[in-house]
Symmetry: D2
Amino acid sequence: MNTPIHNSAFFSLINKIVSEKIPFNKLLGMTVDSIEDDTIKIKIKMKDEFVGNYIKKNLHGGVISSLIDVTGGMAAFVSFYKKNTEQSIEAQKKKFSRLGTVDLRVDYLRPGYGNWFIASGYTLRAGTRVAVTRIELNNDAGKLIASGTGTYIL
Amino acid sequence: MNTPIHNSAFFSLINKIVSEKIPFNKLLGMTVDSIEDDTIKIKIKMKDEFVGNYIKKNLHGGVISSLIDVTGGMAAFVSFYKKNTEQSIEAQKKKFSRLGTVDLRVDYLRPGYGNWFIASGYTLRAGTRVAVTRIELNNDAGKLIASGTGTYIL
Amino acid sequence: MNTPIHNSAFFSLINKIVSEKIPFNKLLGMTVDSIEDDTIKIKIKMKDEFVGNYIKKNLHGGVISSLIDVTGGMAAFVSFYKKNTEQSIEAQKKKFSRLGTVDLRVDYLRPGYGNWFIASGYTLRAGTRVAVTRIELNNDAGKLIASGTGTYIL
Amino acid sequence: MNTPIHNSAFFSLINKIVSEKIPFNKLLGMTVDSIEDDTIKIKIKMKDEFVGNYIKKNLHGGVISSLIDVTGGMAAFVSFYKKNTEQSIEAQKKKFSRLGTVDLRVDYLRPGYGNWFIASGYTLRAGTRVAVTRIELNNDAGKLIASGTGTYIL
């Protein structure tokens, strides 16, 4: 999987799960931007109701942690998938329903200003049932807003 | 502050900030339940759009981390307030605008099933500018769903 | 296991592993104080070479995180054991060799002053292969010096 | 400070603090390898008494977290120094005595096999009093053994 997998059935599955099937992701407007090698990128657009600090008008920490959690989880799912590529899409879908976050650390590095934000996640430790992932969230100017580390279980 | 401060101007300020002034909190429907001694409790009601796992229908990890982050932040703010009780409400409001999360760890312990959820936060380390808080999130049956530890700066 | 298991073969196994078999634990002088219900307590005595801040003469953060990591790991091992009590001591020993820390958060709450320190660990989430534990480290005066949360895999 | 500062008085101060002045660092045999741009590297050699898993003979998680904590703390100290370069060495020394870890997350990614280990730390968020740093610990074969994120206060 060293080439982009934009057009694959796997990319379609992942994007459908992220942007349509999970209600809270839909509320936040998450869409998968790309899955390349080990890295998955997920995007959201700023909206008025995502504001945290009502004086500074920057992105709420909860939106940041939500995007980081989902991106880390999908990076973990990609790494589990790569260990089991022989499985059907149906089997993958079923597997996805068992994916859970064990724990997550988020570091809030700069105020979240921007029209959109993109989080990139990749796997630091990939087992068959437990994965640890690293996630970085940048704004539309390429500034690092937050980073995180999450542990996921299948 | 060893008695409930439900009726105080401080409670009103905190509840107004949490439930009305912060747009993303409003989207999630957060309300302050109580501020007693060192502990602040914040509540949300389950809604269809808060679902994470669309098969199990449980609360999304991002809603959990959002509620834990806000509750930890308000617990930190309460501890900063207690070190400076002489200040006016206006001064407190201004101070609040400078409050920020430095980092947060969330542990997802059980699936988030329930009609409502309540998070309790209190301070583990209270400095004049930096506070570390512990937060526990229970469902309406009193089951511990998630816990967290957050570091906040004023 | 609602009574102390001080005299059991399991307590002896755990104490032998903690205080004798693991070289770095031995360097730090760790001993198991008690295993009761879900809580395991492990103790160390202060020594000159454990000092971190050479002006304040308090306990080094690395000694604190070491004791917290070991205590969390043993709490996880106790919870795995309780799910499999039928197994022989030999089987338990073998299992222990596969126990590993996935991740650990430590919060340093107060300077580590004291003649000895004791860490208490218990399980927040107990699966068959993954456990999340909470650990508190107190000094000989009962002051909370540090706390932590760790995720372990078997 | 975009060039190596190997020969400077600041490097000497840092190396003396890390390798001689702090008793527990000395017990572990820590030495500063380099300070370049924003990155500080600190090294330890494997010793029999640093073993954690007595069957696998790999590095104890407590040695890993100790090295990661010290490296993150020194990276934070370097970033505080860079904001105040006009200060004398005496003032820096005094400042150092007030440096403390607020919290630390460590992810244990691979078993710690090797003759020596080196941790690299750099600052993700640099304030005047609070800094967040990222640390990676590699073995002598360049394998990533563990990574961490720490928050420090001056």
